[in-house]
Structures are given as structure tokens and as C-alpha cells.
């Protein structure tokens, strides 16, 4: 019994590793074909991609910086997904979280031990509130959360733009920088990474992943939330409060998204400026969650993959001469294959189950 369990663990561990790695390689091969067909050297292209992501401390710092919001956005999507909800509103929740964090960051002057947690908490609350609304509509009026969250994204974008213009600046296009006491930036981290913009947010993101894992896997509430996700009617029959669980799950998901925004507001930028469009981080979070198998630790890895591709891609035009548009295609191909590997794996497991 014990031995077979161990065996099972290794089987799942190896397939969890092998499938994504093979998928990345497959994506790279197709990307290479595209590069050869367009007259570029794929070896130079990929080596510059890798160099641009991990080549020296500066690039590693930038990759970590980019990975940070991806982790939290991925967690937000995954948390909702595990409880049977599809939260497309991560983008909007991220933007309001960003705004809330910066707002607290510029309006108060407090000791760092209070100010920084307060700013992050404000972001989490703002994100939670933004997800609470679709949650309550879903629970009580059965309005589909996908539609509401998409619409809430637009409300968030334009509302924050209006607030930045009228409240956080005098008819300007950006807020002031947050006070040092609310900043996640660190001179130490910058000095060891040659002035990259990496900040302490990565620690918060990793803690976030641990919290999500603990909450979902190790607590009764987490079990309840997952149960509602699997089967609402059965959960209700078992005496769980389905409506409260739907709302709670949306709010927690929104809180993760809000904190992702705080990473940008308190770390990467240190302010918020009027946005012409969405940041895209929230939408990429959907792919991050999917590739990470909606598992907290899988998300850490898939967010790293996204962060590395995003930052590394910037190097391809300058040192390998691959044009920006082609780079976008190649990155999309890699993500496409990784994402479809999830589908393949799903199909395989279905087939296996069918055979048994």
C-alpha cells in the first residue's frame, strides 16, 4: 500500500514536470521553424531570450519583478476556479488594488511596520470588494460572474483614471510617488541586481501561494469552498451555506488580485498613472493559473515561465535582430503549446479513467 502510494506520487510528479517541459520544448521547436522561415537564426534568438531572462543579476531581478504580479494574479484566478467560479475580473480587481495601495501610500506618513502592511491590506480589501459585488450577484440573483466581472473591469479602469486625475493629482496623469515607508523597493535588492526594479513583493507573492495552499487543502473552510465548487447541490444537502461560500470565494480571489496590484503600485512603479488600457497582467493570470494546474506551487512555476518569457523577449530584437512582432508570435506559440499540454493531459487522464 505504502509502496504503491509512493510510486503514484512519483508518477504524478514526473508527469507534472515532464509534460510542461516537453510542451515548452515543442513550442520552441515550432517557434524555431517560424524564425527559420522568416530568415532569422533560432539559436541566436533563443539564447538571447534566455540571456534576457536569466543572463545576469540584472535580468534575473527583472524576471523576478515581472513574475511577482503574475503569481498573485494566477492565484486569484486559480482560487476562484477551484471553487467552481470563473473570475475574469482579476484585471479590474488588480487595478483597484493598485489604486488603493498607492492612495494609502501617498496620503499617510506612518512607520514602515504599519504603513506598508496597511497599504497592502487596503489593496486586498479593494480587490475583495470589487469581486464581492459579482459574488453577491452570482449567489443571490444567479447572474453569471463572467459577464459581471468583465464589465467590472471597465468600471475599474475608467473609475481609477478619473480618481487619478481629480483626486490623486491636479488634472495630471499620475499620482505622486508613495512614501518611502510604504514602498516595497529595496536598495539592497537593487544593488545586488545592478539597479533592476526587483522588490520585496516576491516574498509576499510566495507567502500568498502558501496561504492559498493551506486555506484550500488544510482547513475545513477550504474543503467547504472546494465542495461547493464540485457540486453545489450536494454541498447544500450536506448543510453548507452555498451562497456565503460563493461570495467568500470571490472575495478571497479578489483580495489576491488586489495584492497583485499593490505589487505594481508599491514596488515596480511606486505610483499609479492614467491607463489607456488594461495592464494585461490579470488576463495573463488566467493562463498562469491554467498552466500551473490551478495548484499553488504549479502557479509559482508557471508565473516564472511567463515572467521569464516576457522579460527575456525584450532582448530578442536587440541582440538577435528578431523583430518585435515575430517575438510576440514565438512567445504565443510557446504558451499555446504549454496550455494545450494541459488539455492533452486532461484527455489522457480521462482516457485512463475510461479504461479502468
Amino acid at each position: 500500500m505504502k509502496l504503491s502510494e509512493l510510486k503514484k506520487f512519483f508518477v504524478s510528479a514526473s508527469s507534472a514536470f515532464v509534460v510542461p517541459v516537453l510542451a515548452v520544448l515543442l513550442g520552441m521547436i515550432v517557434g524555431a521553424v517560424v524564425m527559420i522561415a522568416s530568415g532569422y537564426n533560432p539559436l541566436a534568438g533563443y539564447s538571447s531570450l534566455l540571456y534576457g531572462a536569466f543572463g545576469d543579476p540584472y535580468y534575473i531581478g527583472e524576471t523576478i519583478r515581472q513574475t511577482t504580479p503574475y503569481i498573485l494574479a494566477g492565484l486569484a484566478v486559480a482560487f476562484a476556479f477551484r471553487t467552481g467560479l470563473f473570475n475574469i475580473g482579476v484585471e479590474g480587481q488588480l487595478i483597484v488594488g493598485w489604486l488603493a495601495a498607492v492612495w494609502v501610500g501617498v496620503s499617510f506618513e506612518l512607520p514602515k511596520a504599519i504603513h506598508l502592511p496597511l497599504a497592502i491590506l487596503a489593496a486586498a480589501l479593494a480587490g475583495a470588494l470589487w469581486a464581492f459585488i459579482p459574488g453577491i450577484l452570482k449567489a443571490y440573483l444567479r447572474v453569471h460572474e463572467v459577464i459581471i466581472t468583465i464589465m467590472m473591469n471597465y468600471i475599474a479602469l475608467h473609475m481609477t483614471n478619473a480618481i487619478i486625475r481629480s483626486v490623486l493629482s491636479e488634472e495630471g496623469f499620475k499620482s505622486k510617488q508613495v512614501h518611502e515607508s510604504a514602498s516595497l523597493r529595496s536598495e539592497f535588492l537593487e544593488s545586488i541586481t545592478y539597479h533592476s526594479s526587483v522588490h520585496y513583493g516576491i516574498i509576499i507573492a510566495i507567502i500568498g501561494a502558501v496561504i492559498m495552499w493551506f486555506l484550500l487543502e488544510k482547513t475545513t473552510k477550504g474543503f467547504e469552498l472546494r465542495a461547493v465548487g464540485f457540486n453545489q447541490h450536494a454541498s447544500q444537502y450536506a448543510g453548507m451555506n452555498v451562497k456565503a461560500n460563493i461570495i467568500l470565494s470571490m472575495a478571497i480571489s479578489g483580495a489576491f488580485a488586489g495584492i497583485a496590484g499593490a505589487m505594481e503600485g508599491l514596488g515596480t512603479f511606486g505610483n499609479i498613472s492614467v491607463k489607456a488600457g488594461f495592464t494585461g497582467v490579470g488576463f495573463d493570470g488566467i493562463a498562469v493559473a491554467l498552466i500551473g494546474g490551478n495548484n499553488a506551487f504549479g502557479i509559482l512555476l508557471s508565473a516564472l515561465l511567463f515572467g521569464a518569457l516576457k522579460v527575456g523577449a525584450l532582448e530578442m530584437p536587440s541582440s538577435a535582430g528578431v523583430p518585435t512582432e515575430l517575438v510576440d508570435i514565438i512567445i504565443a506559440l510557446i504558451i499555446f503549446f504549454v496550455a494545450s499540454s494541459y488539455v492533452i493531459r486532461l484527455l489522457l487522464s480521462r482516457l485512463k479513467k475510461g479504461a479502468e
Partner: protein, 361 residues
Amino acid sequence: MKKRFGFALSLMLATGMLLSACGGQGGDNAGGKDTFSVAMVTDVGGIDDKSFNQSAWEGLQKFGKDNGMKKGRGGYDYLQSSSDADYATNLNKLVRSDFDVIYGIGYLMGDAVKEVAEQNPKKHFAIVDTVVDEPNVASITFKEHEGSFLVGVVAGLTTKTNKIGFIGGMEIPLIEKFESGFRAGVKAVNPNAKVEVQYAGAFDQADKGKAIASSMYASGIDVIYHAAGGTGNGVFSEAKDLKKKDPNREIWVIGVDKDQAPEGVVKVDGKTYNVTLTSMVKRVDVAVYDVAKRSKEGDFPGGKTLEYGLPENGVGIAPTQDNIKPEVLKAVDEWKQKIIKGEVKVPMTRKEYKQFEASLK
């Protein structure tokens, strides 16, 4: 199973090492520095935005060709940003590739240029459209309000419905300069004309530009001035669509940043029309070229703000003027001289515009 896992792991590590080895070689090319080199970072518009990014790149290309430089490291180059998170990374990339002068193109890049310039005090930077107060940054700004005033004069004297439209990209102080100068120009020559102002909220959404233009033309507006980058392409396409339906209808677009006459060409029943009345050109290319040239000669204008206005030919009316009546051109020239002599102070903000409007009465 254990074995397979181990094999996969070693495969992964091996590939990683192989690729990073190549990567190392790629990075070494950065060295070897005996020639003058310049590079720029675009904002999300990219070098084919038919607007200031493109203009800046044309300036750099010209500089490169005039000095026998090659595109790439050690010559002239550009990096495109796909989001605002990329600005600092791209600037740093150019710093690390050892370019002599590094340009940030656009207002939105101010913070990033400031930060990177502080971190690299020995490097030379230039920023277009805003001022960064650092000793190693040359700030390039334009008197867009003066150029916009002149096209405002054209619009005010050309309109037949006395209704004129202005479409801005984002509602930021920079675009307010265009708006205020334009409205002042219209008001100065045609007090009865009304200018309707709308902002699209983005510089890269042609569909929004088209939608706003559509409602403006429908409301009887016959001249639209856009200061909206790529969003403005939608204004051209709407005007051309209307022209195709009714070639006799007189509707006009005033272009921005570059001479946008090519954007307005439309063929109806074998006849060629052009809906571009004129354009307010902003010679980002000239400014970029100037700064590159001065630094090559050892005269880098660090810590200074270079303002390009009418006398420097940094802003003005486009060379394509076929659609403008001669008497209008004469008026434009008179106003131009007045501005250069300082007889007219063109407003830069809405507040100043109100004062300007009051002074006319």
C-alpha cells in the same frame, strides 16, 4: 518511474546549460566600444505609429546614415516597449549595451528616464516631450500650442458650418497644449466658430477615433483636428468613408506630428481626393538628430531643456498645403510672424485659454 523523472530533470538541466552557454556568448558582443552610437526606446506605439515614435526613428536613421553607422549595437538602434513596465527595462538594456546617447520617446517615459539616469550618472540620456531635471538628461520639448494655433487659424477660416472638432488622445497636460493652442487659433480668426473637444482615452485605438469622428461629422462638424497618435487613424478612415459616400461633401481632417497628407488620400469613381486639410508637424526627427549631432561633437546639452518652437521650425504647418486657400495661407503667415515677434502669446493650458478668450473681447 524514478529513473524517468531523473532523466527528465537532467535533460532539463542540460538544455538549460547549453542555452545559457550560448546566451553568454550573445552577451559578450556588447563590448568593443570605439564608435559613437545612439538608440531610443519607443513607448507602446512602436516605430510605425505614423506619429512621433516614427518621426523620432526617422531622425535617428537619418543621423545613422549621414554618419555611416550601422543598425544595431555600436550604431543606431531602437527598442519597442509593449507595456509601461518595459520602459525602465528597455532603457537599462540600452545602457548595458553601451550606447552613447539613449532617448526615451514620449511623455509617459519621464519617470523611467529619471530613474535610470540617476542610476547611471555617467551615461547620456534624452527625453522627448517632457522635462527630466537631471544633469545627464537633455529634455526635448516642443511648443505644440504654437503650431496648433496655426492649424486653428486654418480650421477657423476654412469651416463652413462654424463647427469644429478636436479629438485628443489621453487627457494629459501635453495634449492640453494642443487643445488650448488650437482653440485659441480658431477663436482668434473666427469668434463665431465652436470647437467641440473630445478625448478618446488612448493613443492606440483607431476604432474609438473613428466612432468619435463619426458622431462629430454627423453633428455638422466639418473640420476635425486630432492629437491622438494611432487613435487619429480612425478619424482619417471615417472621413474617407464619408467622402466615398458623398464626394461633394466638404469634410476635413487636420493631421498631427507628421505630414499626414498620405493618410487622407481617397479615390472615388476614378477621381482622387484628399481629406487632409493640413497637418501640425512636430519635428521630433529634427530634434532627435540635433541632440545626436551635438553629443557626437562633444556638446551634449545635459541638464538643459531644448524648446523647439516656430522660429526653430520645430513645429509648424505641414509642407503639403494643396487644400488650403491662398488667403488662408496668408493669414497663417501673418499670425506666425506675430507669434514669433511675441505680439501674441499662445495659451498652453485651459486656464490660459480662458484668459486669452477674455482678452479678445
